[in-house]
Symmetry: C2
Subunit: 197 residues, 2 copies
């Protein structure tokens, strides 16, 4: 219909998460129309990212250097490691600017049904980091799902004999959340963990 | 936060139509994670499109050749030209497979308030195409907005002395549309253009 190159571009765009054929067509058209201001910079950014971005060998973060900027930042608290499932979680935590420790990306959650066992996650690397010394606390910031909590229990078990503090994120009412929109589990958790005002 | 190259990629992605910072971050992460299967093919598709795609000098369509595949297709009805605002409209019409004539892209609509006059659109090219002969009908498939209808009237006026038939798309109830969800203008138009069953 519109030339093989345009069709190929639409096909590649529609494979991106959250984009369907309709939005892919819209984006392809915008890219072709604004070649200098939109298409060329995106192509350059993609090539640059493909060349520069590597996985941090310490924590599993994506960065242009390995060990990554966070792992090599002298100003960060090296005694605390926050264990997350994915690099997206590091980005979310960094946006809050509420955490100044290090990270460790597991690369997934334990899921026996999907065939994901401890050997598929970077948990051995985590215990090695803790055993190398200097770490006082591991914060398990994993999803509040069955898989997330199973993984958290497994990691806590693996870290038990190291003697460090292992903590998890608090459950409760999200800031800005309304009670009648919340599920029963969250309300129960928030009630149980109630605090003096 | 995540390396200059990743930040640059997120920035470029969030400039695409329909993508905000959140979806841009999600897409950037998916691209970096699946470099071979997602990032590299997209980068290649972008480069290929940038190199190959040109504007058809006859109708204004995007294609890897000029005149485009549609203009050079011997099987198409060369006596009918469908006048559209944008290449996206060609794609929409081609998907229906209900039209087998040629196209002409105006590149926009007349809009005195935005400073878009007849000289900014490819209307002279259209009248030249019609005067070259062989065209029997021009279908004005422009938006049913004030600008679209103004542009349609202007084009009809410009084509008046060529003697060809100038038609517009029918207004009426969309297929699958419910009466009580439609605006008054559409219902009036559908009533006025009622047909024997």
């Amino acid at each position: 219909m519109a030339g093989a190159e345009i069709e190929a571009l639409i096909r590649q765009l529609s494979r991106l998460p959250g984009l369907g054929p309709r939005s892919a067509r819209r984006i392809a058209l915008a890219l072709i129309k604004r070649r200098d201001s939109l298409l060329d910079p995106l192509a350059r950014a993609l090539t640059a990212a493909a060349e520069a971005v590597k996985v941090c060998k310490v924590c599993g973060n994506f960065d242009s250097q390995s060990p990554c900027t966070i792992c090599t930042d002298a100003k960060r608290d090296r005694a605390t490691i926050c264990v997350v499932e994915d690099v997206a979680d590091i980005w979310a935590l960094e946006r809050t600017a509420a955490y100044r420790g290090l990270y460790h990306v597991t690369g997934g959650l334990l899921s026996p049904l999907d065939g994901v066992g401890p050997g598929d996650l970077r948990i051995d690397d985590l215990t090695r980091r803790v055993r190398e010394g200097g770490v006082k606390e591991a914060i398990l910031a994993l999803s509040a799902t069955v898989e997330g909590q199973t993984t958290a229990h497994y990691i806590a078990d693996r870290l038990k004999d190291t003697g460090i503090t292992v903590s998890g994120l608090a459950h409760g009412v999200p800031v800005g959340g309304q009670l009648d929109c919340l599920d029963d589990g969250t309300i129960s958790a928030a009630l149980k963990a109630r605090r003096a005002v």
